[in-house]
């Protein structure tokens, strides 16, 4: 699309061509000294292969942060005690590694930490992004290890010991065991079943038949009572809460077939169904296992909440300042917060004047000015200068904690969702069993000598495997297809919910827009300078500033050198370019004398002057993403309603809505407001997909029928989203809807085929016209068709990616 080079390390566009790094003999362009340092570190440790093995990186992921000394304090013994278990010289700690995105990352981390003296164990779990560390604390410190991770471009976050228990790991272990028992059991029982079928043709001694049934019984029993236990538990729970889900028919099918087979085994009944039971359990368990794996890809809650807050804070005890872990703060503590640091707790500003960024919490796109006495929210970022905070509430009592609780509650009130396909499948299983029993009894009275063979044919021909496979196969194929298209599905139900969506709700700041100011318009206020040269001078001065508004000027290449750059707190920045002093910021700062600060609209004005006269004003604005308009139009063309819900001020929301052609919009929404509006939509019968990135979107994301969060969004938003969208574009939303719809089509085709097959084969089998061998071929054939049909999904959408790129 454009010829801007992407950084070799972090894939951000390379604006300044100065930095290159020599990898395997080729000079690769990188975007900043930080990325250059990381790439050289990786090369010098002999791990250049990381670059050829990793997946395509997310732009910006892996870019190192500019904080140097921050990790030092983790070498202290009291910090070690707070974040690690110490046993003699050996210390064990768990670190959440932010910025990991593929398995090559875990290799890189393990290999580089393995060569650090004193580290005896470094184990990265790429699913949970957790690094388990064991090291000799006399040889190396936790701080050194964290600093090393930071140098590699990751964002490490030590976890307090109590939050290190990983329930998802235990769940995965149990699920694996259940899966193995079911699969081995199925294979064994299938072998015995083949022997029993063969006995039908060639004759089998009654003793041997009884023996094979007994053996099948032994193998099936653990499959039913161990592997299928979640289904029984789910059924019981459903009956107790008077909301029987799809687990109930499944449990009846498994339990009924098992009980009938046990009876046959011990009382010489007409047939055993052990093979059907184990196969059914196996396919269901596979489906659940794949779903669980997808779910575990989402980031876990405890980390999500704490990663927004700082690890350590500067606490004032009388006249002395000490660095303490943030989780030790209590109400009434005095905390010093430097410029650029996040606010660790809700509280009151005691000393200092600054502006804070609350965009993630409220959706407000402009920095807010705060003076002594104002309240500050945990999770907002202090932008301008050092301030003193009196802690009011901490942890779960903060606004941030409330939003997190609100989103958990919303998840429970999410519209009940039962997969149509699964429900159909399980009812059919029950119907098959009933029919089979009737056939056995009926033929047993009419022609006892043929009863066994015919019942067998009925059961085999109507084997539920095609039905059981119809949905999981399609969803598994859709999941892998979506992940190739850079959409990570973390909730298996999401695909079907998205396919039935009727309405898409967007958040504004950071979702439809970039969430970063850009220069929207430059107005000249004097005739002396050309617009371009004013822009260049401004860029030169702003490039030396760390203020977030300064990033707006990054798009302009800074070719001129600026000297003596000074920031005036809350006013602006000044600097000397070509021997002339320039002032950028508020009108009164840029030039002497009274000025009407013409904040005519919602845009931020940055004035430029030489101290005497104003020469220009730059209007900064949070611009929509490049493909926002196209995405909205395409979604509308697909028949979806679109609305916009934002916490930002009305003019800003109205302007974006008008630009993108969205007529339903709401501004200044609190998280609670957003939830209420969502409920109104859902009550009107809409199936709603929410796309949002802020912490304030988290409750709506979990309350919506399905939700999508961009990968750059707040972790709390990601944990509440069903699909995580990688990349800087919105087009994947369209792709998600397209693939989800095709998936549902495939599921319907599969179910239609399975039902059609069963409906035609069943009467023939009941009438005794299908011999067991033909029934077996028919069964395999129908399963194969279902799987092949689902696999068509893996090839779909390849054209979309080209179109989106």
């Amino acid at each position: 699309m454009n010829d801007v080079q992407a950084c070799f390390h972090c894939a951000l566009p390379v604006i300044d061509q100065r930095y290159t790094v020599d990898i395997s003999g080729a000079a690769e362009a990188v975007c900043c000294p930080g990325c250059k340092a990381v790439a050289e570190l990786i090369r010098d440790s002999g791990m250049s292969r990381y670059y050829s093995l990793r997946d395509a990186p997310e732009p910006g992921v892996g870019k190192p942060e500019e904080s140097a000394g921050e990790w030092e304090i983790f070498n202290r013994d009291d910090m070690l005690a707070a974040f690690a278990g110490v046993n003699g010289r050996r210390a064990e700690a768990t670190v959440y590694v932010g910025g990991m995105y593929c398995t090559a990352c875990s290799w890189l981390i393990e290999t580089s930490l393995g060569s650090v003296a004193g580290v005896s164990d470094a184990d990265v779990n790429p699913v949970t992004h957790r690094l388990r560390l064991a090291f000799d604390k006399t040889q190396t410190g936790l701080g050194d290890i964290l600093a090393m991770l930071a140098k590699l471009g990751y964002h490490p976050q030590p976890l307090a010991p109590e939050s290190t228990a990983a329930p998802e790991l235990l769940e995965q272990r149990t699920a694996l065991k259940r899966l193995l028992v079911a699969s081995l059991g199925m294979m064994q029982v299938m072998m015995f079943a083949v022997a029993l079928y063969a006995g039908e043709f060639k004759g089998i001694s009654a003793d041997m038949e009884r023996f094979l049934r007994l053996v099948s019984f032994f193998v099936t029993t653990p499959v039913v009572f161990y592997s299928a236990r979640p289904f029984f538990a789910g059924a019981v729970r459903g009956v107790r809460s008077k909301h029987p889900g799809m687990d109930l028919p499944v449990a009846i099918a498994i339990g009924g077939a098992y009980a009938a087979s046990v009876w046959s085994t011990f009382y010489d009944g007409p047939a055993v169904w052990f093979d059907s039971v184990t196969m059914f359990v196996f396919f269901l368990t596979v489906g659940r296992f794949l779903e669980m794996r997808a779910r575990h890809r989402s980031i876990d809650r405890s980390v999500a909440l704490s990663s927004i807050l700082p690890n350590t804070v500067l606490r004032l005890d009388g006249d002395t300042e000490s660095t303490v872990p943030a989780n030790q703060l209590i109400a009434g503590d005095m905390v010093r917060i430097r410029a650029g640091e996040p606010v660790p707790a809700d509280g009151r500003l005691v000393e200092g004047t600054t502006s804070v960024d609350e965009a993630l919490l409220t959706g407000e796109s402009r920095p807010l000015r705060k003076t002594a006495g104002d309240s500050l929210l945990a999770g907002s970022v202090n932008l301008d200068r050092q301030i003193l905070l009196e802690v009011g509430s901490t942890g779960v009592d903060t606004t941030l904690g409330t939003i997190s609780r609100l989103s958990e509650r919303a998840r429970y009130t999410r519209p009940a969702f039962v997969r149509v396909a699964d429900r159909v499948a399980s009812y059919i299983v029950v119907a098959i069993l009933v029919v089979a029993t009737l056939v056995a009894v009926g033929w047993g009275i009419a022609a006892p000598e043929r009863a066994f063979e015919i019942t067998l044919s009925v059961l085999v021909v109507t084997c539920p495997c095609a039905l059981a496979l119809a949905t999981p196969a399609a969803f598994a194929a859709a999941g892998s297809r979506l992940s190739l298209l850079r959409l990570l599905v973390t909730n298996g139900d999401a695909v079907e919910a998205i396919s039935r969506a009727t309405h898409v709700v967007f958040d504004k700041t950071g979702t439809l827009t970039r969430g970063q100011p850009r220069i929207a318009e430059t107005r000249r206020l004097s005739e002396r300078y050309e617009t371009d040269s004013l822009l260049e001078i401004a860029a030169a001065i702003e490039s030396a500033s760390t203020h977030p508004l300064a990033r707006a000027f990054q798009a302009v290449a800074a070719k001129l050198p600026a000297s003596d750059v000074e920031a005036a707190i809350g006013q602006g920045v000044s600097g000397t370019v070509n021997g002339k002093r320039w002032y950028l910021g508020r009108a009164g700062f840029a030039a002497a004398g009274p000025h009407a600060e013409a904040e005519d609209d919602d845009r931020i004005s940055v004035y430029m002057g030489d101290g005497e006269k104003l020469h220009a004003v730059f209007l900064l604005d949070d611009e929509p993403r490049d493909d926002a308009e196209r995405t909205v139009a395409r979604l509308r063309a697909m028949g979806l309603g679109i609305s916009l819900m934002s916490g930002d001020r009305k003019p800003a929301v109205a302007r974006i809505a008008a630009r993108l052609g969205i007529d339903r919009y709401a501004a200044e929404c609190s998280p609670q407001n957003k939830l209420e509006q969502l409920a109104t939509l859902q009550d009107a019968g809409e199936v709603v997909v929410m796309v949002g990135d802020g912490i304030n979107d988290a409750p709506v994301l979990s309350g919506a029928d399905a939700s999508i969060a961009p990968a750059h969004s707040a972790l709390l938003a990601q944990t509440n989203a069903d699909v995580i969208m990688l990349g800087e574009q919105l087009a994947p939303v369209v792709t998600a809807v397209e693939i989800a719809r095709r998936t549902l089509t495939i599921v319907r085709q599969n179910l239609a085929w399975a039902i059609l097959y069963n409906v035609t084969a069943l009467p023939l089998a009941v009438a005794g016209l299908v011999p067991p061998w033909l029934a077996a071929i028919g069964m395999s054939f129908s399963s194969l068709i279902v799987v092949l049909n689902a696999l068509r999904l893996s090839r779909m959408g390849a054209t979309d990616r080209v179109a989106a790129a």
Binding site: M47, W107, P126, Q172, R173, L184, M208, F211
Partner: protein, 53 residues
């Protein structure tokens, strides 16, 4: 055919042993990471850094 009366229970014993071994392996954390090992076999062929013992 009567050999089956011995062979099948024997096979079940082996099966039980396999299940036990798998449970032990899962319990000791060998299956906690299902993604990286697939990669590691490719990666270990890389040139070792000079300071790697």
């Amino acid at each position: 055919m009567s050999i089956l009366y011995i062979l099948i229970p024997l096979a079940l014993l082996v099966l039980g042993a396999a299940v036990w071994a798998f449970f032990w392996a899962v319990g000791s954390g060998q299956f906690d990471d299902l993604d990286t090992p697939a990669m590691r076999i490719v990666l270990d062929d890389d040139t070792k850094p000079a300071d790697d013992p």
